[in-house]
């Protein structure tokens, strides 16, 4: 991964914009932004494997869905608070990640992709079959509990409050994920993508490291799942099916796995395109499929890849203009 030219100013501007966004857009659009934020976490967690780790997974929905079910069941049956529920959703995702990870991180390439797919399908089938717990494809409906902060009770029914809650969680998660890329483990992830064998020859236990990264990716996917479930106030098997697993792949790909914020752009773009296209055009799937193909053909590094190559060209031109 290219080192992004990270500066605080644009980040602060974006956060400021997100803070005042409820004043600018309608309630429904705000709902859409919430969806985008949740999928941003999901896509970023996926990118730990895909963009940073070089692993193509078909099974990331398993952790998203598992986290979502854990959150819902715990809140519904054990009256957990929402932050606690979402945290445990993340832990559930991590637990599943480590369980499957033991097997899958040995694999590479197509074998990895297909084993993750098999595990995803197993979890999906389990969710469909274990009706007493998961409610089958009807799912489980529940109420988003209010947030108790000391003596305060914040009504999370209100879109506005819920928006700020999700914003907070998203900022924390993205912050953690960003920080993670700067830690030794994050750098090691890139090393393993580039040349796993060499990484092991300079003393890194690549298997255990991959497993840890896989587990962490599962954690954040679980958090995203928990948030999504709390947002929809229900969870069904579509949280865990293959469509979800390919959605996150597409988001990451469309945004571009090569940059940290690429998946965020992808998550926003896909959510938006899907929402708008399907409202405007009945046969929107043709347009969306066509867009994918054009993107794959002409922007193999995703939207952020387009930006990077534009910047490179611009840099070159600037350098060229300077008299040497």
């Amino acid at each position: 991964m290219r080192r992004s030219r990270f500066t605080w100013l644009p980040i602060l501007l974006i956060i400021a914009l997100l803070l005042i966004l409820p004043k600018l857009v309608s309630e429904y659009r705000l709902n859409l932004v919430i969806t985008m934020m949740i999928y941003s976490i999901f896509a970023l967690s996926y990118n730990m494997l895909f963009g940073q780790g070089g692993l193509l997974s078909f099974g990331h929905a398993a952790y998203f869905g598992f986290g979502a079910y854990a959150t819902v069941i715990l809140i519904k049956h054990f009256s957990l608070s929402l932050p606690m529920g979402i945290l445990i959703g993340g832990l559930a995702g991590a637990f599943l990640g480590v369980t499957f990870g033991v097997f899958v991180v040995r694999m590479r390439g197509v074998s990895f992709a297909l084993l993750t797919l098999a595990f995803n399908q197993l979890i999906y089938v389990t969710a469909e079959k274990w009706r007493t717990v998961t409610g089958g494809e009807d799912g489980i409906a529940f109420m988003r509990p209010n947030l108790h902060l000391g003596g305060w009770e914040i009504d999370l029914w209100a879109t506005l409050n819920w928006y700020y809650f999700v914003l907070l969680v998203t900022v924390i998660c993205i912050g953690c994920l960003w920080y993670l890329t700067l830690t030794p483990l994050g750098r090691l992830n890139l090393c393993m993508r580039e040349n796993e064998e060499r990484a092991s020859f300079i003393g890194f236990n690549t298997y255990a490291s991959r497993l840890l990264i896989y587990t962490l990716a599962g954690f954040f996917a679980g958090v995203a799942g928990g948030l999504a479930a709390a947002f929809q106030e229900f969870v069904t098997t579509t949280f865990i099916n293959l469509d979800k697993a390919t959605d996150v792949l597409m988001m990451t790909f469309i945004g571009g796995g090569g940059t940290f914020f690429g998946p965020v752009i992808g998550a926003c773009a896909l959510t938006l395109v899907n929402d708008l296209l399907s409202s405007w055009i009945e046969r929107w799937a043709i347009v969306q499929g066509g867009l994918f193909i054009l993107l794959v053909l002409y922007a193999p590094n995703g939207l952020s890849g387009i930006y990077l190559s534009l910047r490179e060209q611009w840099d070159k031109r600037k350098r060229g203009e300077q008299p040497s």
Partner: protein, 289 residues
């Protein structure tokens, strides 16, 4: 009849379904197994075969003609896909091919619904295939036996071509060492394009045969694609006998799963895939990399 006496017939059911699965998966064995292209549009090509067959049947009334023309059409589409789309993204790797074929599957499925409508279509098979045959005291649909026959024939023809002719040897060699084959004077890109075409044509043929049986409907691509990947992976990438064995296993697993553990039946094939990938990642009859 008691539960035990239906075991032979259940075996036959599983066999026929497995062979139908093999028929559809045979093309993917070439495309995914040999060329390594994660072709998610294979199901869509299969569906196209079924729909082309429907239209040809409407115009000409000749089912046998469908079995020739529809595969040729689908094969041609496969060639176009390889030449103008997949070849361009091949250097970028699996994810790109996957996404490209995903987009294609989307588009093909929508176009099919646009052209032929959303409703399932009625495909009339020739009278000699539509009846039933009595044997061993059971009634068995002729068409199911026809499926069995075609699948075995396709396997035999493919097996002979792939393993016994120079063309097949070239394909095997081009898959493992394309540069060397190229340097020996063989146009490898053309070989791959034709291979993709043959894979497409096999999907098309499977559509012609499978359409009347599994019903020509817009959902037929989406419901079969995962099964196809399971077959190819379990059998071993690029191994035709492997695909046959895997199809047979999955057919029987399904059939006997329904008999003995009906609640678990749909999980069995994924369990099989996970176990095979963990224990023998190269597949049952695959060559170790």
């Amino acid at each position: 009849m008691d539960a035990l006496s239906i075991i032979p017939i259940q075996f036959l059911h599983g066999l026929v379904y497995g062979m139908l699965l093999f028929l559809v998966a045979s093309g993917l064995t070439l495309i995914f197994g040999m060329m390594g292209v994660l072709n998610f549009a294979h199901g869509a090509l299969y569906m196209l075969g079924a729909y082309f067959s429907y239209s040809i049947l409407r115009w000409t009334g000749q089912f046998w003609l469908c079995m020739i023309v529809a595969p040729l059409l689908v094969g041609a589409i496969g060639i176009l896909i390889e030449r103008f789309l997949l070849r361009k993204v091949h250097i970028h790797g699996h994810a790109h091919e996957l996404l490209l074929t995903f987009g294609l599957a989307y588009i093909i499925e929508e176009i099919v619904k646009w052209v032929w409508g959303n409703q399932p279509l009625h495909v009339e098979v020739p009278a000699m295939l539509s009846g039933s045959i009595q044997f061993l005291g059971i009634t068995y649909p002729t068409y199911r036996l026809f499926i069995l026959l075609i699948s075995v024939a396709v396997f035999a023809v493919l097996f002979i071509i792939l393993y016994k002719t120079r063309a097949g040897i070239i394909v095997t060699a081009a898959v493992s060492r394309s540069e060397m084959v190229n340097a020996l004077g063989i146009n490898v890109p053309l070989v791959f394009m034709l291979l993709f075409g043959v894979g497409g044509a096999l999907a098309g043929l499977a559509g012609v045969i499978g359409g009347p049986y599994l019903i020509t409907n817009p959902g037929m691509a989406g419901t079969i694609i995962i099964d196809l990947f399971v077959v190819v992976v379990v059998g071993g990438l690029g191994s035709l006998p492997g695909a046959l064995l895997a199809s047979f296993l999955i057919g029987e697993l399904q059939s006997f799963g329904i008999l003995f553990v009906p609640q678990m039946a749909i999980a069995l094939e994924f369990l099989l895939m996970a176990v095979v990938l963990i224990v023998k990642p190269e597949g049952l009859l695959g060559e170790k990399a």
